[in-house]
Amino acid sequence: MKELSFEDSMKKIEEIVGELEKGDLPLEQSLKRFEEAVKLARACNKKLEGAQKKVNKLIKTGEAEFELEPFEEPEEE
């Protein structure tokens, strides 16, 4: 399964919280949905707290053709 975007994850979590608070689902299914929400929340949290991504620079290689190349970040002063 493709990873949900941050925004979609947030929406999904909200949706599940709504379902759980309504309390219509059987216990077992509720726990499954709960697990799903916690998993999504953990993935989001990992993005907020996790490792930094490398910065790329955009290189034009032709007419409307581009490549990404790692950017050497300037040293901190």
Binding site: S5, F6, R42, K46, L48, N56, L58, K60
Partner: protein, 445 residues
């Protein structure tokens, strides 16, 4: 110390400090920030780095000082005879009772044509509707890929990267390195904006540079850059110079931020919000699920209570076998439910992790207590409480009523530990008095 002195004739004399304080207050609040044009004279560069000079016209003059930090920002030497625009604060120097302008920004009036060009372009583009609020595109929610059009070596790119990562480390930053000043800068910047649109795989872009003189920032006042920003289908955040610098780019862009650092702060604001929201959602979800488990447990508790009570009355009616059955039944029902719940809870405990482990521990404890109560209802416990089972010697059938028993017969008594063989001497129906006694016991139970 500086309070007014009362003279014998009733007049009041102010101290020098007091009158100076009042003048200072009056002048500084009346003028504040001023913009003055004049000719430089007596220009002196002090060893401290501060620049002292006088601004004059045909009739009068005013003292000016430009402190080192401000002087460092101008890219020309302040020389006598030069016509300048000075912006700064009018202050009173109380030590000498003089007033002066503390100049923050100095512009060579010879270059005043830049300002005119700026005003002309601004008026023209505004008339064309390029600054209209309805042209502004909203910034995307939760952007993942952010484009940056700036110099690869300046402080701006470093500030943007650092700030963006602080807010959302997983952000994908794509830099389009350009010259932001000098010949070719305007073409570079306009081209980069167009190229980012052709590339397409970014959600929003930051276009800007760090602070500098009006000439340094000039590329962002060029028409070709303004048009590229206006044509961009990807939202553009203009981040040029300092708080006080306004460029044409700022007016055309979808959003203007005062400094490059402020750009990621604004663009990634949703992620700041998300931090709080995530914690809140998980707490809400946990509360909902534990509430659900609580409700199930109350339901089981209800079952236990009902079955438990019936067992009591059955017992008093001497229906030992029924008690056994009822107890077993309750036990069976409850154990099944408890096992299911305990399994769910164990799973849930794994799922909850640090969010709710304390809560689950408490739930497990309550389940254990519940299991203990089930044990209490088992036949063995009943025996331990002092009740016994009587069976007939030959058949082993449980004796429930006196009709089953014959005088002289041998019966077996089952106690919690061990038992006995009994011989029946006499069989009789329980009399009315004893019935009442039993009923009372029943109620007490």
């Amino acid at each position: 110390m500086h309070s007014p002195t009362h003279l014998p004739d009733g007049e009041t004399a102010l101290s020098v400090s007091e009158i100076t304080r009042r003048i200072k207050e009056l002048i500084e609040s009346a003028f504040g920030y001023v913009h003055v044009v004049g000719e430089v004279s007596n220009a002196k560069l002090h060893t401290s780095g501060h620049v002292y000079f006088t601004l004059k016209d045909e009739h009068t003059q005013i003292r000016c000082v430009m402190f080192k930090s401000s002087a460092a920002k101008i890219d020309f030497a302040v020389e006598d005879g030069m016509k300048v625009y000075a912006r700064g604060q009018l202050t009173v120097y109380d030590r000498y009772g003089t007033y002066q302008i503390i100049v923050r920004d100095l512009v060579d009036a010879g270059k005043g044509d830049l300002q005119m060009a700026f005003n002309e372009l601004k008026k023209r583009l505004e008339k064309e509707g390029l600054f209209a609020p309805e042209r502004k595109q909203p910034l995307p929610a939760f952007p993942q890929r952010v484009g940056i059009v700036t110099s690869p070596t300046g402080a701006a790119v470093r500030d943007i990267i650092r700030t963006a990562r602080k807010i959302y480390p997983a952000v994908d930053l794509v830099l389009y390195p350009v010259n932001v000043q000098g010949e070719g800068a305007k073409g570079d910047i306009a081209g980069a904006i167009a190229d980012f649109n052709a590339y397409g795989e970014i959600d929003v872009m930051i276009v800007g540079r760090g602070g500098g003189s009006i000439e340094d920032l000039w590329a962002f006042n060029e028409e070709v850059v303004a048009r590229a920003i206006a044509a961009s289908e990807i939202p553009v955040v203009s981040a040029v110079g300092h708080e006080t610098d306004f460029t044409i780019s700022d007016f055309v862009a979808d959003v203007r931020v005062p400094t490059p650092t402020a750009a990621p702060t604004l663009i990634l604001a949703d992620y700041v919000e998300a931090r709080t929201q995530l914690g809140l959602s998980v707490r809400q979800a946990t509360r909902a699920v534990t509430g659900m488990i609580d409700r199930h447990k109350r339901f089981i508790d209800g079952l236990r209570t009902r079955y438990g009570l019936r067992s009591m009355s059955d017992r008093l009616a001497a229906q030992i076998k029924d008690i056994e059955e009822a107890a077993r039944r309750v036990e069976r029902v409850m154990k099944a439910v408890i096992e299911t719940e305990a399994r769910c809870l164990v799973e849930a405990a794994g799922r909850l992790e640090r969010f709710a482990s304390a809560r689950v521990d408490a739930e497990r404890g309550r389940l254990a207590t519940l299991a203990g109560r089930v044990d209490a209802l088992s036949p063995l416990s009943t025996l331990k409480r002092g009740y016994s089972v009587v069976t007939r010697g030959q058949t082993g059938e449980v004796v429930r009523t006196y009709e089953q028993i014959d005088a002289g017969e041998e019966l077996r008594l089952v106690l919690s530990r061990g038992g006995a063989v009994l011989r029946v001497e006499n069989v009789e129906e329980v009399n009315a008095y004893e019935r009442i006694e039993l009923r009372r016991l029943d109620e007490e139970d």
